[in-house]
Structures are given as structure tokens and as C-alpha cells.
Point group: C2
Chain length 417, copies 2
């Protein structure tokens, strides 16, 4: 079968399965998640063996250590996948949730019911545990899924796919409710992102390059997660202790994450009070500092170039800029931010309200670390990604982000007058 | 200036205006709406004169009577536009609405704030009053707008655009917050729907052909309103009086609207009891009936062809099918519905719940007319269209559909542990 026919077949099967999934009971979906967990547990050896094939091929193809680490599956990581499935099974079912019911003057009662989106396509890179992550969230939210993992993880993903199919069948759901594309042909992605009749939304998980490419070529809506160039602004009315703690935590808690601070903005009036202590702490922790002229007048550091302001380091590097006031900080954010997460540290009520209202990012934070911008921290229970889009889902996307709402009307024979 | 440069300039101006609009106060936005209303009132003559130019050109170009009627502006219709502006001014401001605030175990308080989408592109056909409709909803929801009306209405739209600019400036808002494209060059639309850096979402208003073309070529998200092939299913457990009233109202209350019933599905067990009375009423009202074989065995009517089941008549024509049971009705809907609105008439609790859960349309109605699927009837106060998409906005789209939600976090120096 050629790749187009193969993808159309996958799409048709997904569309048919989506209808079954949309009305599957909460119990059935939870049982499926637990049955998949059991299958992973009993197929540990087969999965690890398949993964070793991928690892060997990866080494032969010269994958670097970081990529090999992301590719590797061991018993611990399989435990992690099993735990993830159990956690998703424990979450409330978003489907069927009815809200905003009210009576209208006409006498009808109207409200909304949460329903699955339909078929979700997930495109991701090397980590095979994303297969379970993504499949479990889509399954719980009543959607069918077509998964396309990285070519390096093909054997691992196929082994995991067998466990998923086994779990679905064990509870009487169609095995095609979760399908993992079994070809590394790049044309498969081209079909996946353009088959609007079979796929309702694409969620790409990976680097900015991958996501931009997909968004550019897609004819299906894409929930994008581009980069996280996050800012912390320390106002001259900031509590110094809070400012220190937040600025330090936002940069150093973890480096390779999208909600880490990449640029620190400091009000000129408190630069001398704030920066030396922070610079010592950063330097001791191994963070390289790159500052504007005014920063360099206060602390010793590299000069920041224009490029620094729009760079997502994902590394122990921080750019620092001294600004005249909050408006200058907001102007900088407006120009360079990727719209992911920005924080202000201030005790000033009016400025806090202004910053909250005016900053156009998916998370706006007052007096807390940017690292809180996360589905688990926000109480979503799980996260398929963080959307930097404004349409449909913005910020951390949990189960609700994989659903839609339809209007429901209850009447008693009502007609329009 | 060539059309591309012109569109880029419009886009840049819209993007800059959007920032101002996003933080404009409710009072300022309402004052702008009322100032636009005043300008329309005082510019009545100029608007009607401009419209007469369009009408004369339309007649010369052989526009049919229906199109000419939609194109015409008179003092009554200008009153309607003024009233519309006053109604939108009276609606609650969706922007800044904070919801779902809760404390997390970490100590942060997290919730959502409603914010504008940014820049909205509206593409529509001949009716010039859409210019005011669309502009007022986008303005109230804090967005900048780029409007592209039908070429037949160019002079009318330019006259209205002057009133809008005047109203915006009168309250200190940028005149470029609402821009009406002043060229009939079709290339302008091509730029509008692909300038993702300047336009956040496109709302096309018009026929299915226009919308499909736009959705196909757009690189900007599109809120689509395709056709309304709406069904009413009369169950064998229906109350006969309710069934009669609903089926009659859903077809005959208005013909040219998307939420009118196009196909009636009747349970075989009640076909003989239900159809003759309905057929008499429809026929007396001038509705042409086209039925399946089993329908023709009960009432006299034309034979329905396969094509009838997927036709949006927008006219006094109704297709009728007798089905074996609710499942057969839902299968028919699943196959032929456009996903707009479906209704069931039944007194059976379990079937009502099943129909509600399983039918995948933007409105699902129990024991009421499909004609209720409407932003005003649902209490949205106004409506920019009815979305048959599942992403972002589904069903009637009011002010909230033109906004997004960002996450907001309040802390007191909180950091991630």
C-alpha cells in the first residue's frame, strides 16, 4: 500500500473509532487506561528489547548523548508510563460536563455540554513515552488519536502501540482508537496535517522548527507551542526578598524548560540594590550573565547583544536589562516576548493591575516564579503541551483543551414566535 | 501603492491599534459605539447618497432583486444600524472577566482572565450593514478589525467607514482600530487571509462557496460558518402535539435561515399518525415535500433523491424520511448533517439523554424548534455568526467568541520547590 492510501485508511479508521469513543463511558475509558498499564507491565521485556534496537540504530547513526537519553526506555521509565496512565484514569472525565444552564425568556433552557474534538493527530520527536502520554490524554477526553513519533523511536513506539491496542480491545473499545503510524516516510506527516476530513486538530510536540514547519503546511487546525522567552520584571516597589527569590528560582530551578526566565528586567531605581546580590547567586550556581550597558555599570558581566533579547537559551544563561519604569519593561516584553509567560514583582496595587491587564502572554504572574506556568501546577492534572496560540487553547492544555462544547437546549414543545 | 504594500500597512496599523484597544476602558469603548451611532445619524444623507451610487452600479451590472434589496440602505436601515450600536454598547464588556480563581497546594492563586484575540479580519458579501455589525462586536470585545465587504457595496462601506473613524477619534481611540479595505482588488483578500503576523483570526460571513475558498487558502485561523442542514427527529414516544408544533415551526418560521429544518425524520411507528396532519399544514403554507418510499406510502409527495438529503434548501422545500428507530435517525444525521443543529421530539428520558450525548452538532435540542439555535435566543446579546467548527468557537458566536483567556497567577513571593 502506498503511503497516501495507508494514511487515508488510518484516517477513516480513526474517524469511525472517534464515534465510538465519543460515547464510551467513563468507566470503560478508565478501564482501558488501566488495561494498557497492565499490558505495558507484562510486556516490559518486549518493549525494552524493541527500544534496544532503536538505541543501537541511534548509536550507529551518531545520535548525541542527550538524544539517546531521551530515546532510552528502561524499567523505571516504563514504571513512569504506568503511573501516568493511572493518574489520567484518576482524573475527572471532561466529557459530558454540562455548564451554564439557564432559562431564557422564551422558556427554553440552554447551556453547554463538553464533548470530544474527534480525531487528534500528535506529531512528536524522539521520546517514546510521549506515545503513552498523548494517547492517554486523548483517550480520556474521548478522542481518537493518530500518533506520529520520531523515526529514531519506531520500534519502541510499535511495541508500545501493541500494548495500547491490547488494552483497548480488552475493554471492548476499537483498537484503532489509538493508531501509531508505522512508517518513517515523511510524506505520512504531509498527509496527516492536510486530511481535514479525518483529522480535527494537530498537536505537535517538539522544537520550534518542527512546529513552524507543521503550522505552515497544515490544512488542519494546529495547537502550537512555540518558544518560551519568559521575562521577570522587578519593579522599584518590589519587596527585595521576594524579588530575589523569584528571579533566582525562575532562572535556576530548571534550565531546559519553556517556563524558565530568559530575560530579567530591573527598574533603574533598584538596580544597584538588586543586581549585585542576584549576580553573586547566579554566578555561584554557574549561570552566565549578559547585560545591557546599564547592567554592566552595576555588575560585571558579558554585554548582551540585540540577539540575546530574542533568544530562548534553555540553558544557564540569562540576559539582564535595566529599564526606566514599568512601561519600558512592558514595551520590551511586547517586542521580544514569545507570549508564553511573564511575571512582575511589585507591592504596588495599581501597577500590578496594569501589568496583569496589559501584558499579552498566555500566563501573567504577579509575585511568583514563571516556573508555575504548568498544567500540573495550575491543577489541570495533566498537560499535553503549552499553547502559545490564542485560538481555542491558550497556555497549559489539559483534558479540557482536547474537547469542545456544544450547545444544548431543553424545551417542552417550545417554538419560535 | 500596490495592493500588497497597502495590505501590509493596514495590517501594521491594525496590530498597533489592537494594543490600544486591548486596554481601552469599557466606558471608552461604549462611548465610541455611541459616537459612531451619532455620526451615522448626522451623515444619513451622505451614506444614502453613496449607497445610491452602489445601487445604480448594481442595476447596471444586472444584480438581481434579492441582491439589490440586501445592498440597499435607507433611513430605516440606518436606524437599525444605530439601534444595533446602542445594543452592543449596553452589553457587558467581556474583557477582563476573571474566572475560576482558586488556590493551589503550592500557595499560588490561579485563574483565567478574558482578553481580546487581537486583530480580526471579517470578509463578507453585499450587505453594508454588516460593516457596522461586525465592527461594533469587534470593538466592544477589544479587538482591532480589518473589514472587507462586497465590491457592490464599496461606496456605502466607505461612507460607513468614515462614520466609524469619526466615532473612534471622537473618544480618543485610533481611527485605524477599524479599517475598511478600500480596494475591490481580489488580491487584497489573499493577503488578508495569509498575513498571520498581523491578523489573528478570520471570520467570513457569506455563502458556503466563499467560506470554503477562504478556509482553503487561509494561513490564519478561520471561524467557519458552513451550511445548516438541520434535522428534526420525531420519536415514537413523542407527544404528538409538540411534534406537530416543532416540526411545523422549524420549517416554516423562516425559510432562508441556517437553523431552519431541511429534513424531517419520523419513527415508522408514528408515521401514519404524524405525517398526514403535518403534510396538510405544510402544503397549505406552500412547502414542497419530498419523501422517501415509506413517506410516499403515507402521504402524497415528490420522491426525495439522494441529493435531497444533503441539500440546504433555504426555501419552502422539505425532505422527509421514515426511519425504523432513533438509531437509524442518528445514523442518517451522522451521515448527512452539516453539524449545525438537530432536534429530537420525545418524552422518553433515556432516548433524550442518548440523543443529547451522541449527536455531534453545534446545537442539540430536545423538544424545541431548531429555530432557537441563535445568539440572541441563547442570550449572547449579539452574534457575529454561527460556527460549524469545533475548534475555539462552536455554534452561535457572540462577544466571548471574539476573545481568548489568559492564565493569571497571584503569589506572595512564591517559588517552585
Amino acid at each position: 500500500m502506498n503511503v497516501q492510501d495507508y494514511m487515508v485508511q488510518l484516517g477513516q479508521q480513526a474517524r469511525a473509532s472517534a464515534k465510538v469513543m465519543a460515547t464510551a463511558t467513563t468507566e470503560t475509558k478508565n478501564n482501558a487506561l488501566l488495561a494498557i498499564a497492565s499490558a505495558l507491565d507484562s510486556q516490559r521485556e518486549a518493549i525494552i528489547k524493541a527500544n534496544q534496537q532503536d538505541m543501537a540504530a541511534g548509536r550507529d547513526n551518531g545520535l548525541d548523548a542527550a538524544l539517546l537519553d531521551r530515546l532510552e526506555l528502561n524499567s523505571n521509565r516504563i514504571d513512569g508510563m504506568i503511573e501516568g496512565l493511572q493518574q489520567v484514569a484518576a482524573l475527572p472525565d471532561p466529557c459530558g460536563e454540562i455548564s451554564d444552564m439557564c432559562y431564557r425568556p422564551s422558556g427554553i433552557q440552554v447551556g453547554k455540554m463538553r464533548v470530544p474534538l474527534g480525531v487528534i493527530g500528535i506529531i512528536y520527536e524522539s521520546r517514546p513515552n510521549v506515545t503513552i502520554d498523548a494517547a492517554s490524554l486523548c483517550l480520556k477526553s474521548g478522542n481518537a488519536t493518530v500518533l506520529r513519533g520520531g523515526k529514531e523511536a519506531l520500534h519502541s513506539n510499535q511495541a508500545i502501540a501493541e500494548c495500547i491496542a491490547h488494552g483497548l480491545q480488552a475493554v471492548g473499545l476499537p483498537a484503532t482508537a489509538v493508531q501509531v503510524i508505522n512508517t518513517t516516510d515523511r510524506a505520512a506527516v504531509g498527509h496527516l496535517i492536510t486530511m481535514a476530513e479525518y483529522i480535527d486538530v494537530i498537536v505537535p510536540r517538539g522544537g520550534k522548527g518542527l512546529i513552524e514547519r507543521i503550522a505552515n503546511d497544515a490544512r488542519v487546525p494546529v495547537i502550537k507551542h512555540l518558544d518560551g522567552i519568559c521575562h521577570v520584571y522587578i519593579d522599584d516597589r518590589a519587596d527585595p526578598e521576594k524579588a530575589f527569590n523569584i528571579a533566582f528560582n525562575a532562572k535556576t530551578h530548571r534550565y531546559g524548560v519553556c517556563n524558565a526566565m530568559e530575560t530579567l528586567l530591573v527598574h533603574a531605581a533598584v538596580a544597584e540594590q538588586t543586581l549585585p546580590r542576584l549576580a553573586r547567586a547566579y554566578t555561584e550556581t554557574g549561570v552566565e550573565l549578559r547585560g545591557c550597558d546599564r547592567t554592566q555599570a552595576v555588575i560585571e558581566c558579558q554585554a548582551a547583544s540585540e540577539e540575546d533579547w530574542s533568544t530562548e537559551y534553555l540553558a544557564p544563561v540569562l540576559s539582564i536589562k535595566v529599564v526606566d519604569d514599568m512601561q519600558a519593561a512592558m514595551d520590551h516584553i511586547d517586542r521580544y516576548s514569545s507570549g508564553h509567560t511573564e511575571a512582575i514583582v511589585t507591592e504596588d496595587y495599581t501597577r500590578a493591575r496594569q501589568f496583569l491587564a496589559a501584558v499579552d502572554s498566555s500566563s501573567v504572574i504577579i509575585n511568583a516564579s514563571t516556573r508555575f506556568a504548568d498544567g500540573f501546577e495550575y491543577g489541570l492534572g495533566a498537560e499535553i503541551g503549552i499553547s502559545t496560540d490564542k485560538i481555542h487553547a491558550r497556555g497549559p492544555v489539559g483534558l479540557a483543551g482536547l474537547t469542545s462544547q456544544k450547545w444544548i437546549v431543553f424545551g417542552d414543545g417550545h417554538v419560535r414566535k
